[in-house]
């Protein structure tokens, strides 16, 4: 075939409608739903994950408050570090699931295709920036706080023990460095998790650029 007439194939393909799967769909019933079956399942699963993560996080925080403030428990650093890491993991897990739900629910259907794409990319970047900023403020303030407590020896930080010895300064420095590194790790994780989405958006942007 020398010259293919795309339009004639298109018309031919759509003059006879052999797709009856759509005819089964009851429009009136469908528009009363919040989402279709598959999308609802995805959203419910994310919500369930958020709920579980939040419950575990709240229980963890409650137990920590009970142990340290009510029972006035004094633990060694080698016990505090795993507990802190566990708490950080729970916090990270909860926020990333909330972020996922937020992204899944974000839509901009009434705009042009290009505007919708730009709007979504802007929102995705905004989520990344807010996320990064929250972690940055939280962990940098924590690092400053720990350093201040160590210098001023508030709360007996200098006397915290590590395997029956006094907490060595290098260990504290490593811990502070980990705290300072976390916001960048979160940003990297965001880029990795939404890599396909970013590549899809960038691909669309390239296709929509003026020639």
């Amino acid at each position: 075939m020398d010259k293919i007439d795309l339009k004639s194939i298109w018309y031919e393909a759509h003059t006879k409608n052999d797709e009856n799967i759509y005819n089964k769909v009851d429009i009136e019933k469908t528009i009363r739903m919040n989402h279709s079956k598959a999308i609802s399942k995805v959203l419910s699963d994310v919500k369930l994950k958020i709920l579980i993560s939040l419950l575990v996080l709240v229980t963890f925080i409650g137990l920590m408050i009970y142990a340290f403030l009510y029972l006035k428990l004094h633990l060694s650093v080698n016990s505090i570090i795993p507990l802190t890491l566990a708490g950080l993991f729970l916090l990270f897990k909860t926020t990333s699931e909330i972020k996922r739900l937020f992204i899944l629910r974000k839509t901009a259907d009434n705009m042009s295709v290009k505007e919708s794409m730009l709007f979504f990319r802007k929102k995705l970047n905004k989520i990344k920036s807010i996320d990064f900023l929250i972690y940055l403020i939280f962990f940098y303030l924590s690092a400053i706080g720990i350093t201040f407590c160590y210098i001023k020896d508030i709360g007996g930080v200098k006397n915290l023990s590590w395997s029956n010895n006094i907490l060595p300064l290098p260990l504290l420095l490593i811990f502070i460095l980990i705290l300072l590194f976390i916001p960048w790790l979160v940003r990297y994780q965001h880029n990795q998790s939404y890599k396909n989405m970013y590549s899809n958006l960038n691909d669309s942007a390239n296709h929509l650029n003026d020639t």
Binding site: M1, K3, I4, L6, K7, I9, W10, E12, A13, H14, N17, D18, E19, I21, Y22, K24, V25, I27, E28, T30, I31, M33, N34, H35, S36, K37, A38, I39, K41, V42, D45, R100, I103, L104, T107, A108, D109, N110, M111, S112, V113, K114, E115, S116, M117, F120, Y194, N196, M197, N200, L201, D203, S204, H207, L208, D210, T211
Partner: protein
């Protein structure tokens, strides 16, 4: 409003079916995504201000929804867990009679999401001005892109026939 919306959808059902067939070609969740498009059309309907034809608005929302579903698919691993039986997916959708149609769909499937949107509108006889409006690019750019996509499709179809 609901009655009016349903009537309009019934009148323009074909557009939605074409979009679903192109974006979710041989996708086991095609019917489900068709429903999701209907739901999002209904949710967006209050935003339809009669400034453009209903079909133009319908195209815009349905294309945005389809592209959005595809964009977010990697965040929805659960889809693979839903059983095929539950969705009553036929094992072989391919029909010899619709060979040319399948070839065209397969060729369009090679295009990017945005290119698919442009070519559907072109094949459905929309003017460059309308396509530019729905996609959000200039008219001259639309012309350039249509020619490029057409050549690409013809090349794919030609190669498939050789």
């Amino acid at each position: 409003m609901e009655k009016e919306f349903i009537e309009l959808i019934n009148k323009h059902k074909g557009i939605l079916q074409k979009i679903c067939n192109i974006y979710f070609y041989r996708n086991p969740f095609k019917e489900d995504y068709y429903q999701e498009i209907l739901i999002r059309l209904w949710k967006s309907y209050p935003g339809f201000k009669n400034q453009s034809a209903f079909s133009t608005w319908l195209y815009r929302v349905a294309l945005n929804t389809s592209i959005d579903i595809i964009r977010k698919q990697n965040l929805q691993p659960i889809h693979s867990e839903l059983s095929k039986i539950e969705y009553n997916i036929p094992e072989h959708e391919h029909n010899i009679e619709s060979d040319r149609k399948d070839k065209l769909y397969l060729a369009i499937n090679h295009l990017s999401d945005v290119e698919k949107a442009i070519i559907i509108l072109y094949l459905d006889d929309y003017s460059y001005k309308e396509i530019a409006e729905i996609i959000g690019i200039s008219e001259s750019n639309t012309g350039v892109k249509i020619n490029r996509i057409k050549n690409q499709l013809i090349k794919i179809l030609d190669n498939g026939q050789n």
